[in-house]
């Protein structure tokens, strides 16, 4: 466990939401927004602050699919696999991205922490199917080839930065 994690982020979030057990989900959401995942270090700290056992916070964090205990990439790519996107061939896009990034169903984040690829069950944009999102930006009517181009663009973007 790295000890370098800056707990002041957590303090800011707690200050804005209130230091009470009922705020736990909002606090975890806040942390995840800032860190893109829930670092293990925050658990003992929150436990102490909120008077809730670490096991109970872990319980909340594992109950919701949206919380991640693993670090996620800078770009989180979500491939919609709802019914509409599925029938319009979302899976080949997923397979293409995984192949390009050397990812699997179990390993969803690249080692350089740049990309995370995961599926999601319907983004509610069925008219634009098949849809993928990168962080919160929506890319409609995707194909495996377009996805590959998008990856290249994103890679360029990081090089420039």
């Amino acid at each position: 466990m790295s000890t370098t994690f800056d707990l002041s982020i957590v303090n800011e979030i707690i200050d804005s939401l209130g230091c009470k057990p009922s705020a736990i989900i909002a606090i975890l959401q806040g942390v995840q927004e800032r860190c893109r995942y829930l670092p293990e270090e925050i658990f003992p700290y929150l436990s102490e602050k909120l008077g809730v056992s670490e096991a109970s916070i872990y319980s909340v964090a594992t109950f919701y699919e949206n919380f991640s205990l693993e670090p996620k990439g800078k770009y989180v790519i979500k491939i919609c696999d709802g019914t509409a996107c599925h029938v319009r061939k979302s899976i080949p896009i997923l397979e293409k991205l995984r192949k390009e990034l050397k990812l699997t169903e179990k390993k969803s984040t690249t080692d350089d922490l740049m990309f995370t690829v995961e599926t999601v069950s319907c983004l509610g944009a069925c008219g634009l199917a098949p849809v993928i999102t990168v962080n919160d930006k929506v890319y409609p009517a995707m194909t495996p080839d377009k996805a590959e181009l998008l990856l290249q663009e994103l890679r360029e973007e990081t090089k420039d930065a």
């Binding site: 056992s53 670490e54 096991a55 109970s56 916070i57 872990y58 319980s59 594992t62 109950f63």
Partner: protein, 565 residues
């Protein structure tokens, strides 16, 4: 007020403030099956075994429905029986069914109900592959695959003990009881009190079993095996062999142990006498010194000591430096140099699972071996008696061995919450008549309430005393103390509600029966010739001999911080 009635299976039943239908149904003699209901815990309503049918044909969970006047319910109709059987079938489909080799064989609720409902077939394929065992704790063993997710362990750990080592993690089919980040239980806040194992209806959490190692030592002719038996064991064992609940069976225990080849049999209450003398001395010293750390907490309970180490390290200076009675007696036993040609093994029979951890602590290892080699629980002793074929109820009671078998009533009541305090007060009270004894008894130190408070005058000083059992109660009291709301001089803490008589190593009974065990100990005290620890003739002998100049070395301890979080 007029009496209120409801109808259960066609029979009018008076409602008498029962908090739910289940309590009322059980009161009228119907044993409705449950997995997740314990009267001391919050209501969870997960197992659905206690469903009943109301007048309109709707189903209600009896555990989470309050009784109302005029209500009519049926507890045993065709569809309820079918549903209950279905629940069992689904649980069994996802449960490893190797009952004969399970640690909870014969004590399992799932096994018991499967038998009662005549489960002849499970139609679904068995979804369990490999056992998932966590063996990291010296006190308990967990097997995820025997878990039925009733949540009893989670609630006892959170609500009664306030430890919070475990909770549910994940959801749906992946849901399981887990520590934070699925760490081994030994690396969690767990203090080994074992109350989770006591309430677990299946074999998902069981107490570690050390019986084989003890048999091995007993079979070895080059080894001399001494044993000490804790006070609470004697009032919990008899019922298992058909004797009345709460009956003091120490004489029979001694007889059984002797037949099993134990060389010397001693009583942990002798160690308790030493504890009384040392602890009251320490209390007086702390009271006399204005710079000392006050209040003083008792140190007999290993789960409490470990709880402080893990969750309240700032309290450690408040804990008495006295070793627990088990460890005091063990270090005195180690000094006995009879039978020098033999290897020596010391076994302790305890009502407690946390004692297994205490025995393994480095502070209590001397000359390369632990002072207590093995701790076995009351349940393990019962197993040994059954294994050896001894008919316990037919044994003639026998007496402890010399030289260390002399004990007092003060030591015996250590097994019940308030007992340590009462014994220490007997020592400190100047008035040594019978009336003096009664005066202490009536000062609110007896009874199984989780928190008791008393003010007692010792010499010129008024002592504020608190007696707590259940770790949640202890942490609440600590909070009040820290906020300055309450002030105490002496606080007795026992981790298990009601004290050692309700330890997790004892056969599991309802809390009302735990009270019967407490009565058993108090009547053992009444029967004892010597009531005060300082009047135990053995004490004079020990302090003049073995302990001379070595009191601190043999009877006190400073806990290293290795077990702190």
């Amino acid at each position: 007020m007029d009496k209120e009635y409801m109808i259960i299976d066609g029979i009018p039943v008076e409602i008498n403030g029962e908090k739910n239908l289940l309590e009322l149904i059980r009161k009228v003699g119907i044993k409705l099956p449950t997995f997740c209901y314990h009267s001391e815990l919050s209501i969870y309503g997960a197992c659905r075994m206690c469903m009943v049918e109301n007048k309109r044909g709707e189903l209600e969970a009896a555990c989470s429905t309050p009784p109302r006047a005029g209500m009519e319910i049926r507890t045993n109709v065709e569809r309820l029986r079918r549903y209950r059987k279905m629940i069992l079938e689904l649980l069994l489909a996802n449960h490893c069914r190797d009952c004969t080799t399970c640690g909870n064989n014969g004590k399992c609720k799932l096994q018991d109900l499967a038998m009662k409902f005549n489960m002849s077939d499970v139609r679904f394929p068995n979804g369990v592959t490999e056992p998932e065992i966590d063996n990291s704790s010296p006190c308990i063993t967990r097997d995820q695959n025997r878990c039925i997710l009733c949540g009893d362990c989670v609630r006892v750990c959170n609500e009664i003990q306030g430890v919070g080592a475990i909770d549910f993690a994940h959801r749906g089919a992946k849901m399981k009881v887990s520590t934070a980040f699925d760490r081994p239980i030994a690396n969690s806040p767990c203090v080994g009190c074992g109350q989770c194992a006591a309430v677990c209806p299946t074999g998902a959490i069981v107490v570690k079993n050390d019986v084989d190692a003890v048999w091995k030592a007993l079979d070895d002719r080059t080894t001399s095996v001494t044993v000490q038996v804790a006070p609470a064991v004697r009032v919990a064992i008899g019922k298992e062999f058909g004797l009345p609940a709460g009956e003091n069976a120490i004489g029979r225990i001694v007889a059984a142990l002797r037949r099993m080849n134990f060389d010397r049999i001693y009583d942990t209450s002798t160690g308790a006498d030493l504890t009384v003398l040392e602890e009251s001395e320490e209390l007086l010293e702390r009271l006399a010194d204005e710079k000392s750390t006050m209040p003083m907490f008792t140190s007999c309970c290993p789960a409490w000591v470990n709880y402080c180490e893990k969750s309240h390290p700032e309290l450690l200076p408040h804990i008495s430096t006295c070793r627990s009675p088990m460890q005091m007696l063990a270090s005195v036993i180690k000094e006995q140099k009879d039978q020098p040609d033999k290897k020596r093994v010391h076994v302790a029979v305890m009502p407690c699972t946390a004692k297994k951890f205490e025995a393994s602590r480095s502070e209590f290892v001397k000359d390369g071996t632990p002072n207590v080699d093995y701790v076995i629980t009351t349940q393990e002793l019962i197993q040994m008696i059954k294994e050896s074929g001894i008919v316990f109820s037919e044994l003639e009671p026998e007496a402890m061995d010399l030289p260390l078998g002399v004990n007092t009533g003060a030591g015996v009541i250590f097994g019940v919450t308030g007992g340590v305090t009462e014994a220490v007060l007997r020592r400190l009270y100047a008035e040594k008549s019978m009336a003096g004894l009664f005066a202490i008894t009536y000062k609110d130190v007896r009874g199984l309430e989780g928190v008791k408070k008393a003010t007692i005058k010792i010499g010129e000083k008024e002592l504020n005393i608190a007696i707590v059992s259940g770790l949640k109660n202890a942490s609440e009291l600590v909070k009040q103390m820290k906020s300055g709301e309450e002030h105490f001089d002496f606080i007795e803490v026992m981790a298990c509600p009601g004290g050692c008589i309700n330890g997790a190593g004892q056969p599991y009974v309802s809390f009302s029966e735990v009270a019967v065990r407490g009565k058993g100990l108090y009547s053992a005290d009444k029967l004892s010739t010597i009531k005060r620890s300082e009047e135990n003739p053995l004490m004079v002998e020990l302090y003049g001999g073995t302990l001379k100049g070595r009191v601190h070395e043999l009877l006190h301890v400073e806990y290293a911080s290795e077990n702190a979080k």
